[in-house]
Symmetry: C2
């Protein structure tokens, strides 16, 4: 079996990530859509884009659900079908997968996928509460655990079982802040030191402030088509050659293991198989570093190293920007920011930029194959996509 | 071009609709899933069902988002991909469409689609607030208008432009309660009189209590496959031969016309064209009667009559159970109930039952082609599906 191009990306857009004061999500989404439209001058969005698949996590942030039609309206796409997907922080990773299915189904030739979230206008307490809705109400939320707490449970289990250290987790933050400092759209464009991470206040031990991703506003999008049509619109398409998705119990308490995300492993396996690639073939990866421990576990679940060896990869600088396999060149959720619904397609945006050679100061030279890994909640949803330069 | 069977329904399930005290949405969904599994004994859900697409409108009702994996877990489908779709009250109509796309894409052979909502444990004020999130925050919610108010604006516009009367709207309620009284799963199984509707208290003039659909708990699901595989599982498949979806502005204030839903017209047109049928070919219809005026407008938007003539259809008993083209044999949202996320696939469940001749006391004899029409919000989302007995 040879590699098959499932769909092709012909353009993409990303708003500035950060505290976008005075802007609501529809306005932020327009910023991303405009970039995608401007970068694809042969495309007439109104005529050519046939459907919109949007990741948007929380109706509570803006007291606004039913966001598909709103974003279609603001992006000038009415009366096209517009669908909101909610898979917690994997919402737009799943929206991307729905877009791929939409093209493969033959129902559409060209679709837009994307995501958006507006978060920074709410208090940290509100944001924490709204995000917990992605965990189990009766057995997690009700007992007072929040996402830092859930990932802290994974971190302590990983430390106990494999000897992973707080310093190793902190180095993930240092690496991603280094990358974020090179990304003009990142929420925080500032390097941090290991000391700064280690001495930052404890949020949920062993996770400290700088082990946690950011509360950000932002939007992202991609325009997908089938590989034949792609040639009409761009000389440098990027093809998606693999997609995987799996689910797990929403509650951590129901799982056999806390040191790995089963849904992530299964999604990765499906995507690798479909793409006919192995971890060794990857040139660049974006993973879901909602907390630093999540990036270490991601290395293991994606097969970059054996279970328990994720910390070593960080110690050996393997995943640095100039390492063997750079991870989170965008700055990741840690420094680029994590407007939850936007994250999945923002990861794909970074891979796309890298593969077409437009990642500027953070460009990984000669990158040909990339992977994005988007996780919802504490791993109840996971999607993996594999991309190839056309 | 000849009719083409896009996908086939091989089983379906529906929970009791109503005030399901003590049960949360995951438990209610299991009730629907169990029926679907039991009705399809050759199917091994764990092995055969490859993905789950769920309509679920409001994270606020149970302080619970990320419902895809939860329902997959409770239905025994882990670790299969499970995706929550939110298109307001059209959530599971859109989930059905995603299921069709999933099969057509070739990525899956068998998928489950469905929807669920738990509403009755909240106060009416809470429910009203949560539902308004499907309307525009800055220009509708903020100014205090709720869904009865939005549909009242449509009703008064329709009365003004076409002379539609309060009695005609009330007759929709009488008809649907008559049908609901024959449906053992309906929320309210009780006939009502025209006088009772007309004298019920005003909610938002001209809409009175009995012009409004119900706040209900409930779940629904269908199992879809491609037409070839369907034969393995059932001797009486129902094929879906048309699907349509369109979007409109979320706010009524942005529309040219209040007497019609443009998204509904466009979704219907797409579905009719794909199915190669006209309104005259339909034997049975389920429409989105969230308010009685919505059913009258639906007649017109689906082409059962000319614009403005919907009231006449009711006066002439055309859409009665024993009429020329029965509409809402299930009792509709009005009497069967409206657990918002469950409604789209509950409509499809009724059409399925009718087409396989299992609608018991409300069976329309010889029904061969049916249509379901599911609306989100005040019409910003709409889906139409056309079904044919296999």
């Amino acid at each position: 079996m040879t590699q098959k191009n499932l769909v092709s990306i012909i353009s993409s857009g990303l708003s500035k990530f950060g505290r976008l004061e005075g802007k609501c999500s529809r306005e932020i989404f327009v910023e991303a859509a405009k970039e995608a439209f401007e970068k694809c001058p042969n495309l007439d969005p109104v005529k050519d884009i046939e459907a919109l698949f949007i990741g948007h996590m929380g109706e509570s942030f803006e007291h606004q659900g039913h966001t598909g039609p709103i974003l279609a309206d603001w992006a000038g796409l009415l009366p096209r079908p517009a669908i909101r997907i909610e898979s917690a922080c994997a919402s737009s990773g799943v929206a991307l997968r729905m877009g791929i299915m939409a093209i493969l189904s033959g129902m559409y030739n060209i679709v837009m996928v994307g995501g958006v979230e507006k978060m920074t206008h709410r208090t940290t307490m509100d944001v924490t509460e709204f995000l917990t809705m992605a965990s189990d109400f009766p057995f997690e939320q009700w007992n007072g655990i929040t996402f830092p707490g859930l990932y802290a449970l994974m971190a302590t289990a990983h430390m106990h079982k494999y000897g992973t250290t707080e310093e190793q987790m902190a180095r993930v933050a240092v690496k991603n802040h280094h990358n974020g400092a090179l990304n003009p759209k990142a929420h925080i464009q500032k390097e941090i030191t290991l000391e700064k991470v280690m001495s930052s206040r404890v949020i949920a031990w062993p996770l400290k402030l700088y082990d946690c991703s950011l509360i950000s506003d932002g939007a992202s999008c991609l325009i997908l088509t089938n590989p034949n049509i792609a040639k009409t619109f761009t000389d440098i398409p990027v093809h998606i050659i693999g997609t995987g998705q799996a689910s797990d119990t929403i509650g951590l308490y129901e799982r056999d293991e806390l040191t790995t995300l089963k849904a992530g492993r299964l999604a990765g396996r499906e995507a690798y198989k479909m793409a006919q690639v192995t971890p060794k073939d990857l040139d660049i990866i974006e993973v879901h570093d909602c907390f630093t421990i999540a990036e270490i576990i991601a290395y293991e679940d994606l097969g970059l190293c054996k279970p328990g060896k994720g910390g070593n990869l960080i110690d050996q600088n393997v995943t640095n920007l100039n390492g063997e396999i750079p991870v989170n060149t965008s700055g990741g959720l840690k420094a680029k920011g994590h407007p939850v619904g936007a994250t999945g397609t923002a990861q794909a945006y970074e891979i796309y930029l890298q593969l077409i050679g437009q990642a500027e100061k953070r460009q990984v030279s000669g990158a040909e194959i990339g992977l994005s890994y988007n996780v919802g909640g504490s791993g109840a949803s996971a999607t993996v996509h594999i991309f190839k330069r056309g």
